[in-house]
Symmetry: C4
Subunit: 171 residues, 4 copies
């Protein structure tokens, strides 16, 4: 089975997910700066999810470079990952429209956890981030900004190109 | 005619179909778990269709690996398949929004039958699943859950990588 | 300049256009066959436009196989073609929602004419079909079904793989 | 890291952005020419943004041909560019729906400035156009047509294939 087509399909799905989220940014009716203000939570949640999907695409890219053989198991593990990623626009919209309220922030964490778990199934090695996401779920009921801070932390962790993991896993 | 571009176009269409379905999952107005509950039928029909489109993409991938020469006939048979697949988001939305009522479940079966028939035209060999889909259409008026069970059955049948068919057809 | 990326971008745009049209097929509120009936004009206009975009993709594919050198002129001629094709979902929706009324059918003809002209600029040889489209515009005010018949005629003309034109132009 | 996948992903995102903008062109309810008239500002802003995204895609294409090595820095600079480009549908809709009113035209300029800056970060050389965009922002409060004229000017500047810059930068 060709790796190129798996990459192309995943690229297509992630590119679409990252761009349809912007459809949630509805153009306000009035042409004033004031009309833009209520959009900030939607915009912020968009930025956060854009970065997360960018990180997944980036790491997916690295991961597939390390893989040589694509079989049915890899293909379905990849589909499983894409499924959870496909729910990100939904939870992003819910979180943004409700100004980072506890339940939506918790559900955002659930979807990121399951995406992380799906990525773990794909790689069998990336342990750290799902654990942090799981910690964020109960935290979001205590103080939702702390849960958000944890999401940002994981994003920063992954923004650093993680050569170490790649070396450990595939050498 | 190059096989690569036919694959790229089909990948694009299927990737878009699989992701625009998630637009039907409208973020609820309120930030409570209770607000999520009415979304379950929409979510379930999304999962079912995600799996079906994943199966089609997977098999399409296998099929095109077995094909060497792409002529106008193959191209239009492929377009025909993509046409019926493109109706899946519509019937998925109708089925989900009406909580698996008889007529929408039947129409879902019709579209899957015609997709299966289109795939059959493309391969001239995959007989079993369209017959099961056809059986599901009248059944959905008796008990719609039985029709749904048949759809799941076909999904499971196809989740197992079907090397047998591939061997029979292309060796 | 690489031909592959021009093909990939065009494939992406056409794949998206062909699939976002299906978003106009709104799932009816009620779960009855009767609720589907008012969708027929929208569905028919979708089918027509799906076939047209399929034809454009098919011919675009053939055309680029015949082209060796992609320069800035080809790139912008291609963008120009994609621009007119990008209006097809809009005119399709207008035509379908107004049940093939005169003005929408005429505008559909205008967009197809300009797409045909853009394709002509790209190939400098495909004369016949834009002329027919132009004839269809005034006709749509006499009898809109006749204009529709002309669109179908052109579709049929192009469904036959036109090896003759390709031979004449590029040998 | 393979350049091909970075190109494919960027192509996907830009192709989607360029086509989802057309969703803002809502089909009018009535089948008369008069019903189309109020769409002109939305249509014009669509044309302008289509040309801009076309220009970005074109230049991105040229730029990546000049690049040999894709590292994490390039990847994130590219993501950063795609982020600002992804806001173009939003500002296009706002500008079109408010008939080129001052604030939306200014925000359009802000997003184009930041896209230009992001492209500059990617290339470290394209200085002229962000400066012009910045000049357009205050101007849009004096006379919004003058700001629009500047956007068109930049578009024209870039429509000419700029071999000079490419030579200077990469030789």
């Amino acid at each position: 089975m060709s790796k190129a087509r798996l990459e192309a399909f995943s690229d297509g799905v992630i590119a679409i997910l990252i761009t349809i989220m912007v459809l949630e940014l509805h153009a306000p009716e009035h042409a004033t700066w004031a009309a833009l203000v209520p959009l900030w939570p939607v915009f912020l949640s968009y930025v956060l999810s854009f970065v997360f999907l960018g990180i997944y695409w980036n790491n997916h890219h690295h991961l597939l470079q390390a893989i040589k053989h694509v079989d049915g198991r890899v293909l379905w593990a990849n589909m499983h990952l894409l499924f959870w990623l496909s729910l990100i626009p939904f939870v992003t919209a819910w979180m943004g429209q409700n100004r980072f309220d506890a339940q939506p922030v918790a559900l955002y964490g659930v979807v990121l956890s399951l995406s992380g778990a799906a990525y773990f199934i794909l790689t069998r090695a990336l342990l750290a981030s799902p654990v942090i996401y799981l910690a964020a779920i109960p935290l979001s009921f205590v103080a939702s900004w702390m849960a958000c801070a944890l999401y940002v932390l994981v994003a920063i962790m992954w923004l650093v190109p993680d050569r170490r993991i790649e070396k450990t896993l595939f050498s």
